[in-house]
């Protein structure tokens, strides 16, 4: 599963820009369908932890440039000053946890080994992730010296990307669903009803 997470995060970092549509940079997420797949199959706690780590890795590989960029860095002006790169751990980590929690809440009424369920939950999960991460980034951007951020544009991008994620979820579903048994998830429903 770690290997799959690495692959999907690599796809996010490497392919999203090339697959993006329009000026709003609407692009599919590859790691979120994996989180949804885990959420549909695995017990709650491992699902939440894995979603947190995947989201945290996205946060750590999403640097933002601060408002003082060309003018000389955080410390003032002149060459050789420290830069204004900002790494913000939290928005995507919590967004992914929220998306995973959303899947955990609804998985009881879904057919868990269905590609359609994976696609639908991925689209909805991506919307939840977008809302949570946008909210946190908006709060952060209110601080002086922080980055400039448009919540509206981010939500439009998030909604578009969520719909586009249906494509990546379908592709991943074709690979993941038939290989469901390889992951040896402990079945939460079997445990609840006293055995397999």
């Amino acid at each position: 599963m770690l290997f799959l997470a690495w692959i999907t995060l690599g796809l996010d970092a490497g392919l999203r820009s090339a697959l993006s549509i329009g000026d709003a940079r609407i692009a599919p997420l590859f790691s979120l369908p994996l989180v949804v797949f885990i959420g549909l199959s695995a017990p709650a706690l491992p699902t939440l932890w894995s979603s947190f780590f995947i989201g945290a890795l996205i946060d750590l590989t999403s640097p933002r440039a601060g408002l003082l960029g060309f003018a000389g860095g955080e410390g003032g002006g002149g060459l050789g000053m420290s830069g204004t790169e900002q790494i913000l751990l939290g928005p995507h980590a919590l967004g992914y946890v929220a998306a995973a929690y959303f899947v955990l809440t609804l998985r009881g009424v879904m057919m868990r080994k269905s590609i359609v369920a994976l696609v639908i939950m991925s689209v909805l999960g991506a919307m939840v992730e977008s809302i949570v991460s946008t909210a946190l980034l908006t709060v952060k951007s209110l601080h002086a010296g922080s980055f400039e951020f448009s919540a509206g544009a981010s939500l439009v991008q998030g909604a578009g990307s969520a719909v586009y994620t249906a494509f990546s979820a379908a592709v991943l579903g074709v690979v993941l669903i038939p290989g469901h048994a390889w992951f040896r998830f402990s079945d939460p429903l079997a445990r609840r009803y006293g055995g397999r």
């Binding site: 995060l9 940079r25 706690l45 932890w49 980055f147």
Partner: protein
Amino acid sequence: MSRPTRQILNPRSALAVLGVLCVLFSIAPPRWTRWQRAFAQPARTILLPISHPLYQLVGGSTTEALPRGLNAADFRAIRQHHDELLTKTQQLEREAKGLREVISQLQRGIDINPGLVVKQITAPVLGVSTDLSARVLQVRAGRRTGVLPRAVVAAAGVHLVGVVVAVDDRIATVQTITDRSAPKLIGVVMLREGVPGPLCQLQERKGRDLIFTVGEGEFIDPETSAPIPVEAGMLVRVRDDAMPLYAEGLIVGRVTSADVNPEVRQRRVITVRPEIEFGTLRQVQIRMLDDASPLPLGMESAHEDESARALATASRMSHGAGMRGAVP
């Protein structure tokens, strides 16, 4: 471990604590969360072996329109050669202007250091930010190759991409000019090649497009004596005193539309689109001062007191100086 301690340190409560911490990080001022940058490099190192080959595999270089009857490779080669020549001309003109100033200072008996030497490093692009709302590039060049914050980044040698905002040993983070947090750039609209027109100041960014306000005034063509309006298709080049000198003359983009400013009727608003799609660049050139060569007098001050230069440019913008009358 005692029972109460185990109850507190279980995975569920640990996750809840991390969640609360993440919320606190999100609302804390940036200076309190600066330490998080220490974790960014290991995270990049984990992902780069997979993300970089994929990025290089699917990345292009430009997304410009192709004239009919010309194949893409030839067109790009011709355009690049053309742009390089024009940029060199611009830089030579500026250099000549600088030299004239140097001569006048020499005549006043001031010692002058040798000229400004720009070092240029070509560096592969490792990728963009995973979160596409931040328009930031990461390139494989760092302190080990001599890159410093505020180095100017160009594509195809002549197109301005942005400025280095952070550097570690091997990787530099570049804030592109289309990033919302990037400062308000000042450029000059080229009425024809070699004929600089009005100054324009960046007001806002809409996706890939940059919206500039153009200064007042009318430019008269010296050959035909007819006014030259700012219109679509004209190039915009950097002429910003707040930017390092070696960014001067780089191409910001091409005007795609020109309208009357609804707020100030005498001024026009132009939409400028960079000719390079920053999200698919494979390599960039990082331009910076060669440390081995000292700055000439007069240029030193440009780096030491750039805020004053920025104010001077802003003043030129607001008073319209240099924008009225005939084309020089």
